[in-house]
């Protein structure tokens, strides 16, 4: 979601590390997977609907065994309720199935995103269908909701959805704004507290060096999006873990239709490993904390992805429909021959 390249220079790295660290980070990246062999990852924020099958293959190869796809906008505003309904339905339908074809467990959060909350006539209708989806299997939270432009309409629907989350006893995945982030983050947290929501049920997303301290201090989960240019870089992320430890901190890619990297979580884990962060801290921020936060929904059963996923033959080959009849499930990317 990098709309303004001018923002890049406004958000320089706060922690650049030593010259030696910089050198390591820029020279070892070719074989970064060597550093994370045997590790498992959970990406709690990735928009797979916007990604290709190549990405799914790359994710499972890199050790990402489960993901959460938050509901958001499509890059342009929807014009009718049916578009929302079909989108929510695809998150618990086709996309979930598509993911299973690659051995990745797919969860989602459902919500009215902040941008589209500004179309109040449509937002009213969306609010009516949200409860139908929130109680479905594998829906692990209300999200991503919160502020973008920080308008009155955004606040109204943020509050209404906090109430839905409270009633359904679901975690809340809060999007924090690109612009005026610090104020938006503080506002999001104070409103959640005002609604009597346990901060342990709220994941504040897209944090940076400016917001993290307050989020952790107040007892919320702090998620960091490793996203080129507009959000966090992973070298900065390493510094954050060095400074704040691993408690209630999690990393995600938020990969979508923008210039983003679906492998942000495993890559960040590799960089942490190289820079001397302990395996246990890496495990917490790239796997376990996200599970602990979202499993409060009662909808995550770690057995589903903890042991190497047994790909059901009935789903994978005989029932294979992403891959057409008679094909083999994998293509050799470097081969010129397509058979």
């Amino acid at each position: 979601m990098c709309q303004k390249h001018s923002e890049i220079s406004q958000n320089p790295s706060h922690f650049e590390g030593s010259a030696e660290e910089f050198k390591i980070a820029s020279t070892v990246q070719a074989n970064y997977t060597d550093y994370i062999k045997g590790m498992k990852f959970f990406d709690p924020h990735i928009h797979m609907t916007s990604r290709t099958t190549d990405d799914y293959t790359a994710l499972i190869d890199a050790g990402v065994v489960a993901i959460i796809e938050p509901a958001f906008w499509l890059g342009q505003p929807r014009t009718g309720l049916s578009s929302f309904k079909d989108y929510f339905s695809s998150l618990v339908g086709w996309e979930r199935f598509r993911s299973s074809q690659f051995g990745i467990k797919h969860y989602c959060t459902i919500g009215l995103n902040s941008r589209e909350a500004n179309n109040e006539a449509l937002a009213e209708q969306v609010m009516e269908i949200l409860p139908i989806f929130l109680y479905k299997e594998g829906v692990v939270g209300v999200g991503e909701i919160g502020f973008d432009d920080q308008t009155a309409a955004e606040e109204k629907y943020y509050r209404l959805q906090l109430e839905l989350a409270k009633e359904a006893n679901l975690p809340v995945q809060v999007h924090t704004p690109h612009r005026d982030k610090k104020r938006g983050t503080e506002l999001s947290m104070s409103i959640a507290l005002e609604h009597g929501i346990d901060p342990g049920m709220v994941i504040i997303d897209h944090n940076n060096e400016e917001t993290v301290e307050s989020v952790l201090e107040k007892g919320f989960w702090a998620a960091f999006t490793i996203y080129p240019f507009t959000k966090m870089g992973n070298e900065r992320m390493v510094e954050i873990v060095k400074k704040y430890g691993s408690e209630r901190i999690m990393v995600n890619s938020a990969a979508d239709w923008g210039i983003s990297d679906p492998l942000a979580v495993p890559k960040t884990a590799a960089l942490m490993k190289i820079k001397g962060i302990s395996d246990e801290d890496i495990r917490l921020v790239t796997y376990q904390n996200a599970i602990d936060a979202f499993a409060q929904s009662g909808q995550i059963n770690a057995i589903d992805f903890e042991s190497p996923m047994e790909v059901d033959q009935n789903l994978k080959f005989n029932g294979n429909t992403v891959l057409r009849g008679g094909q083999i499930p994998r293509v050799e990317k470097n081969s010129i021959i397509i058979s």
């Binding site: 339908g93 979930r96 139908i132 299997e137 080959f317 029932g319 429909t321 992403v322 057409r324 009849g325």
Partner: protein
């Protein structure tokens, strides 16, 4: 026939006391509360496999999870006396269905009132690329056998063959074999052979009563195949058909014929 009481008997034999009391508390509720119960079922009902899979109303429950059976039961309890509200309630469930819900809904088609109304739901399940949803209409489900047009039926069987799915699990697969389908199977095989691929050998069982000179050429090709399954299928077709040319062909393969006639080879052995 009151299938819901039969379904309930089956549920009763497996449910824990806690599950049973949840089911009973929901079963006689309003349409809306049944709708909610249908969605919420996995929060209260286990995903153990159904213990007694014997069919009810032509639907058998092999490899069904228990929550799926309970969902089917809850749907069978929807009051159908007011057609509009009945249909609206179930349509809403279809339109917003998560995958496991979609599977349960499609499995319930043979139990629903106004069967003709659900035809598009059934054919859309055949169109679905979500494996389990397709399987829910194609296998252990008598709805297609009883209600599909020949065109819809053939689409379903062909898609099974195309995706290497086990067509012997289709209810009525032998009864509803037809000439058009035999032709399409032959044509699909030609396409696959051009690509250096094959179709599952069991599919040839469906051409037995519709052999002609064209399909006989396919059988001859199968006899020359390097796959033993293809050669077995060719043999079994030639033994079962009345088409004279096939009997001539069989004489060239006495060894295979003998094994088929002594039950060393069988269609069951070709099930995938």
């Amino acid at each position: 026939m009151d299938y819901s009481s039969l379904l309930f008997d089956r549920i009763q034999s497996q449910a824990s006391a806690k599950e049973l009391s949840w089911i009973e508390s929901k079963a006689n509720g309003s349409l809306q509360s049944l709708q909610t119960a249908f969605v919420a079922a996995p929060r209260f009902i286990s995903k153990e496999f159904v213990q007694y899979p014997e069919p009810i109303n032509g639907v058998s429950f092999n490899n069904w999870t228990f929550d799926r059976l309970v969902r089917v039961y809850l749907l069978s309890k929807f009051n159908s006396s007011d057609k509009d509200s009945y249909i609206k309630a179930i349509d809403t469930l279809f339109d917003t269905a998560e995958n496991n819900e979609a599977v349960a809904l499609i499995s319930t088609l043979p139990f629903l009132a106004y069967p003709d109304y659900w035809m598009l739901r059934a054919t859309n399940a055949v169109r679905s690329n979500i494996g389990p949803v397709f399987d829910a209409i194609a296998f252990q489900n008598p709805f297609p056998k009883n209600l599909f047009s020949e065109l819809a039926w053939n689409q379903m069987v062909l898609k099974c063959i195309f995706n290497d799915k086990p067509i012997h699990k289709i209810e009525g697969v032998l009864d509803r074999a037809n000439a058009e389908l035999a032709h399409s199977i032959s044509y699909l095989a030609h396409e696959r052979w051009s690509a250096g691929r094959t179709i599952p050998a069991y599919a040839w069982r469906l051409v037995i009563n519709f052999l002609n000179e064209e399909i006989l050429k396919d059988i001859q090709y199968l006899f020359s195949s390097s796959s033993v399954h293809d050669r077995i299928a060719a043999t079994l077709v030639c033994i079962a058909t009345d088409f004279p040319g096939a009997k001539e062909e069989l004489k060239k393969h006495r060894d295979l014929e003998l094994k088929a006639k002594t039950d060393v080879f069988s269609w069951e052995g070709l099930e995938n």
